[in-house]
Symmetry: none
Subunit: 123 residues, 2 copies
């Protein structure tokens, strides 16, 4: 089961973050065709956001054939494999890193500090 995380400080709308994470989850193999997603209600409670926000995310992905919703049953990963272009992935990574480095920088940390901390964890 995929684990969702929202970052309220990022400026990215919640429904967009949910969409992103599902798409990336499929692309990275963490989510597989036919797998059931959390129900709109449970995810809303989990993330402490409104039901409509989750619904909006799911609905948009259903329009894009990424998800398949069955009223009364649940929402599932569709058969259309979401292929995220390498370019888009790199932009996303860059955007996330840019935001992160900005935050870290405001605390006086350099890129080297962060790399040091991250590689320490990798050991």
């Amino acid at each position: 089961m995929i684990e969702f995380k929202l970052d309220p400080k990022s400026g990215v709308p919640y429904y967009r973050q949910i969409i992103d994470q599902i798409r990336y989850g499929i692309a990275s193999g963490k989510l597989d065709t036919g797998e059931q997603l959390p129900t709109v209600r449970s995810l809303a409670v989990d993330l402490k956001i409104n039901l409509n926000t989750v619904t909006k995310a799911y609905k948009e992905l259903e329009i894009q054939k990424v998800l398949e919703s069955q009223q009364g049953t649940g929402t599932f990963i569709g058969s259309a494999k979401a292929q995220i272009p390498e370019k888009e992935k790199r932009e996303k990574l860059r955007s996330i890193c840019s935001e992160f480095l900005g935050i870290a920088g405001s605390y006086g940390f350099s890129a080297a500090d962060i790399v040091g901390e991250l590689t320490r964890k990798g050991r």
Copy 2:
């Protein structure tokens, strides 16, 4: 001189993207203390956005002592660096790295991906 780029599809507010890029520029050493930034008007024209949006970004950074604005002259990189006790700093670094890894991970990015991006030269 720093080169700004806005991504309208990212969902991140323009003023936030500008803030991020300035912070990023400082943290990565691309921007140095005392350096003049583009004028609010020229940057607005450059990025094809409204004057107020640029102003909002600059103003917020000025409040945080990252920038210094002089009416009639221009806006410059400030000298103030965040002063935080060493112990608190280390804990902070660990905590923000951990939080960031979680978010990046939910997008399918690994610590190695991030390190790769952060250690990239140029750009």
